[in-house]
């Protein structure tokens, strides 16, 4: 049976679906999960029973890498039907949210502007926008994971539409499995840092590429004494992020910045993190971003990035399955990311090789608390990094101490 997730936590700026829009969004979530888990699960059988034996018969060997697997799999009728459904379902996720967001506007933008722009409003966090922020080509060339308008589209001087679109769209995409605030990954990362390094006691934390703050807001609860900062390139997303955090009663300081050229002084932060960011940046940008992380980190500070598992070292079939999105879900940098040796680029950014760290962190929304305890102690069985939400998913995390 499909997993029943909790409804998204309401807040003052969340675009509210009508009765039928909610029904359509719920269906889009269920369809996506069904296609991914049930039909997608059958893909392995198709490969083992039909595609691989046919390849072996013709070539006298098994497919050597994911590219060979992809070539033969996408000729198979089952894989074609699955792929065609996956694409249509992903398009439906966003499409189902469009009318909700359009109807909420422009009233939503006006309400956000009233909060963002008016001096004297008693706010917990802050927002600083920098219209001179340069948006590199990798951020604007395609609409990442098919979100029409991407992160950066700005239609009016007070526009926060793409932030509102992303907030609701991500919940529908995740089918609620990333938590009822889409906060599960950030909460897992923050909790892991707090429990693994109890003496770190960070005073200032920075999260880069934070979008609307789904995975950043949890830091406020885990580190109530710390000053929490988030950066993102998109002004509409930052406006929305600020409004959302204020509505949730969380003190976060949002800055419109390109992580390749942060405007913070050297040695500013005790902890620098990101969540599922690097596969959406170019390889050149990745190196520059890591250099900036090193620069703004205080000596003795910790950098940790949570990402998708790297497929370069995986079984060719698993790599094909995970990299499907890179090819057909507008994730053009996913491939380059998965082929990158992270230790190599982290050391290249100025961190000492013996200060490199990596951890597998179980998802707090889904894992057994004992499993999380084991991860904190450092004796977690490596397990299946391929597992998906609703199973025992573990997040690949790596970084370094400065």
């Amino acid at each position: 049976m499909g997993i029943v997730a909790k409804p998204q936590v309401d807040h003052a700026f969340l675009a509210k679906p009508s009765h039928d829009e909610l029904a359509r969004q719920s269906y889009a979530s269920n369809l996506r999960m069904y296609t991914l888990a049930t039909i997608g699960g059958g893909m392995r059988t198709v490969y083992d029973k039909r595609v691989k034996p046919q390849f072996e018969k013709a070539q006298g060997r098994a497919p050597k890498d994911e590219h060979e697997v992809r070539k033969v799999m996408l000729k198979d009728p089952y894989a074609r039907a699955w792929s065609s459904m996956m694409r249509a379902a992903q398009e439906m996720v966003w499409e189902s949210v469009v009318p909700t967001v359009e109807r909420a506007q422009p009233e939503l933008n006006n309400r956000i502007e009233a909060l963002v722009g008016k001096p004297g409003v008693n706010k917990m966090g802050s927002l600083s926008l920098d219209p001179s922020t340069v948006k590199p080509k990798y951020a604007t060339a395609v609409d990442i994971h098919l979100m029409p308008g991407n992160y950066e589209t700005e239609r009016t001087p007070n526009d926060a539409t793409q932030g509102a679109f992303y907030d609701r769209g991500v919940y529908v995409y995740q089918g609620g499995m990333g938590g009822d605030n889409c906060h599960g990954i950030g909460m897992s990362l923050a909790t892991f840092i707090a429990r693994k390094f109890p003496n770190l006691k960070p005073k200032k934390i920075l999260d880069i590429g934070c979008t609307v703050g789904h995975n950043l807001v949890p830091y406020c609860d885990v580190f109530p004494d710390a000053e929490i900062h988030g950066v993102d390139m998109s002004a509409p997303v930052m406006r929305y992020a600020h409004a959302r955090a204020e509505a949730m009663g969380k003190a976060v300081h949002f800055h419109q910045m390109n992580a390749e050229s942060l405007k913070f002084p050297d040695n500013s932060f005790d902890v620098v993190t990101s969540v599922i960011l690097f596969h959406e940046t170019s390889r050149t940008a990745l190196r520059q971003i890591l250099k900036e992380c090193h620069r703004v980190l205080k000596p003795g500070g910790l950098m940790l990035h949570m990402e998708l598992p790297r497929t370069a070292t995986m079984d060719p079939y698993d790599a094909f399955y995970l990299d499907w999105d890179a090819y057909y879900n507008n994730e053009p940098y996913y491939q380059a990311y998965t082929a990158t040796d992270m230790k190599d680029v982290i050391v290249g950014a100025g961190f000492a090789p013996d200060k490199y760290v990596e951890y597998l962190i179980p998802d707090l929304v889904w894992c057994d608390p004992a499993e999380f305890d084991a991860a904190v102690r450092g004796d977690l069985a490596r397990g299946n990094a391929l597992a998906r939400w609703g199973e025992s998913i573990k997040w690949s995390t790596y970084g370094a101490w400065k």
Partner: protein, 126 residues
């Protein structure tokens, strides 16, 4: 209101991939997937009406619009949608080979014949 009406794009930037040899089949898949969504929406609405009528003698459209399923009711709906997905998207079981008929039906020869005949006809008239 003085603010301009905001319209979101319906399509994402980037080339859309096709998976079948004939892109029309992918187009049909989109039609089909969207149609299943509409059926599901109608079913949820009907479910709302039934549940409201169970507790009230008469209901208005406003009652329907205002209705939001509780977690327990949503879980019933998820189970129903799951069964619906299983019935509609009934994948042919993954097996080692296809039965007679094969994966590639060959309508090609008929086409060729017709073309040849047409050529002959035009040669005769010319």
């Amino acid at each position: 209101m003085s603010e301009p009406q905001i319209k979101l794009p319906r399509q994402s930037k980037g080339k859309r991939p096709y998976f079948f040899d004939d892109p029309a089949i992918d187009q049909m898949m989109t039609f089909l997937v969207e149609l299943t969504a509409e059926v599901s929406v109608v079913y949820d609405r009907l479910d709302t009406v039934e549940r409201l009528l169970e507790t009230k003698g008469t209901i208005s459209r406003a009652d329907i619009e205002a209705y939001r399923p509780s977690d327990a009711i949503e879980s019933e709906r998820v189970a129903r949608r799951d069964g619906y997905l299983k019935r509609v998207f009934r994948m042919h079981p993954p097996q080692a080979t296809y039965g007679k008929g094969g994966t590639t039906a060959k309508p090609a020869p008929a086409k060729k014949k017709r073309r040849r005949r047409r050529r002959q006809r035009s040669a005769a008239s010319g």
